[in-house]
Homo-oligomer: 301 residues x 2
């Protein structure tokens, strides 16, 4: 899994900072998460192939999370894209994009499929053989979802020495990988665990922005490998966090600790702070493994 | 008059080029003309104070001319702007912006006034003591206007030596500036032209993008000081210009010549060309005074 931060600042784009957008590479998918103004330029700057983006997840309809979407959709059209594009977003975005396309008397030459979200409970919104995506209901000023990306548990690996020693016919290898006990060439049953190894543990990533401190998300994100949790403010500005329904670095770390995640990435910084190290220092008083998102930074896990 | 080119490329934003937006400084106004994605960042990069922008003119509803508007409007709100903002744009843009604001459950704390354009004839859309703005109907794939910005003829200047010699009471100075003949202190009438000087000749700027070659605009832009005319293509790609309703550099120059303008600025280049000097060379075969727009370039006239 590889995460590329295209933008990790709140509010509006500036010459040196970008609003929220990130790309998660997971099992050959390139999932785009949020799409603030200028995202298409940041995708190019980070050399991410437009054609590999087939699924876009939009957390909520504040401009710093979605104003870049219509431009990206239009660019895909100009590049004569043919592959389907799926957009998972709160109800309403489809209407805006449709109206903008209508007014410019253009439409996509590829299939543009909106999956409109309105549930207030976590739901699975995408699934294939290897990956699932679930919504994480968040507590913000408007309807907002985070997104949980989970690899599925893969097949068991053959321990080839043990398999050959046990004299098992190749026709049974598929069943072995699926975890079944199988007979050897003499008809004796072989216990699966004696000839196979555990699969690679599946990885998971939770994106939670924007949100107030909200313990209701904990059961959904429990034990994830990496949690990106917004920290618009530091503790001394906590009085600003509550009315705007944002979080402080300390609150983000408290969620990380209570959800027992392995790593916390902070982001969605207010542009009032010049020195981001304060966010890390503050969060580390609560939770040990903290990283700071930065525009253009990548994380591999 | 000062023109700042924020973006002068067609199609979509790239890491090194911007879609259409420019700022015309004229008689203390800062008129923003078109507003492609990323315009707010380019305004900052070019150090143009957001608070000075009170009038925005949008030529048409293709994304490369308007997708940055909603972000700019939102940023004005975040900056707690109070001054009115006037947007002159084809009918439809108000509906989009209103929907986007509604979906984000926000509205401007300043007065946002849309002037919806739908006339196919040139009309005056703005006027004050010193400046007029008229639409220039263009021929593009969708409803499109260029904009003509004209200073009004100023007052006559007093030739102070002549005024004092003529022994005219100070109470008449105002009338002299307005061009009237006035009596001297002995009751004899003084001919205005003998004691005043012609005012500074008023300047004019015509913005024409996007458009096919269209002689119908010539009467409206006749004799302007500066014409910005799109040249998406050069002549060898003329076959692309006709169906997309764009112009070549040669066609832009032909309009400049027939309209007897003083200077031509080319822009709205297709991103297929690495070398822009071809545009200038081609246009100069028809019209002598040609400049190339470039992102970040300013013109004073």
């Amino acid at each position: 899994m590889k995460l590329t931060i295209l933008g990790c600042y709140s509010a509006t784009p500036r010459t040196d900072t970008n609003p929220t957008a990130q790309v998660l590479e997971i099992n050959n998918h390139m999932f785009l998460i949020d799409c603030g103004e200028g995202t298409q330029v940041e995708l190019r700057r980070n050399k991410i192939k437009f054609s590999r983006i087939k699924h876009i997840f939009i957390s909520h309809l504040h401009g710093d999370h979605c104003f870049g979407l219509v431009g990206l959709i239009s660019t895909f059209r100009l590049l004569t894209r043919e592959a389907d594009l799926h957009v998972y977003a709160p109800k309403g975005l489809k209407e805006v994009i449709t109206l903008q396309m209508k007014l410019s008397e253009s439409w996509t030459n590829y299939k543009l499929i909106f999956h409109e979200l309105s549930s207030k409970s976590s739901e699975m919104i995408y699934e294939d053989d290897k990956v699932e995506v679930h919504t994480i209901p968040l507590d913000h000023r408007i309807y907002t979802n985070g997104f949980l990306f989970k690899e599925k548990l893969g097949e068991r690996k053959l321990d080839m020495n043990a398999v050959l020693n046990a004299d098992i016919d190749v026709a049974y290898y598929r069943k072995l990988k699926q975890g079944a006990d199988v007979p050897d060439n003499n008809g004796y049953m072989v216990e699966n665990a004696t000839v196979t190894l555990d699969p690679k543990p599946p990885k998971s990533y939770a994106f939670c922005s924007d949100t107030a401190y909200n313990e209701a998300m904990i059961p959904v994100i429990q034990n994830v490998d990496v949690l990106y949790h917004e920290s618009t403010f530091i503790e001394k500005n906590e009085a600003l966090a509550a009315p705007t329904k944002h979080s402080t670095a300390k609150q983000a770390a408290t969620i990380a600790k209570k959800a027992n995640v392995k790593q916390l990435i902070l982001g969605h910084y207010s542009t009032r702070y010049d020195d981001l190290s304060m966010f890390k220092t503050e969060a580390e008083t609560i939770f040990p493994n903290v990283e700071l998102a930065r525009d253009g930074k990548t994380f591999e896990f």
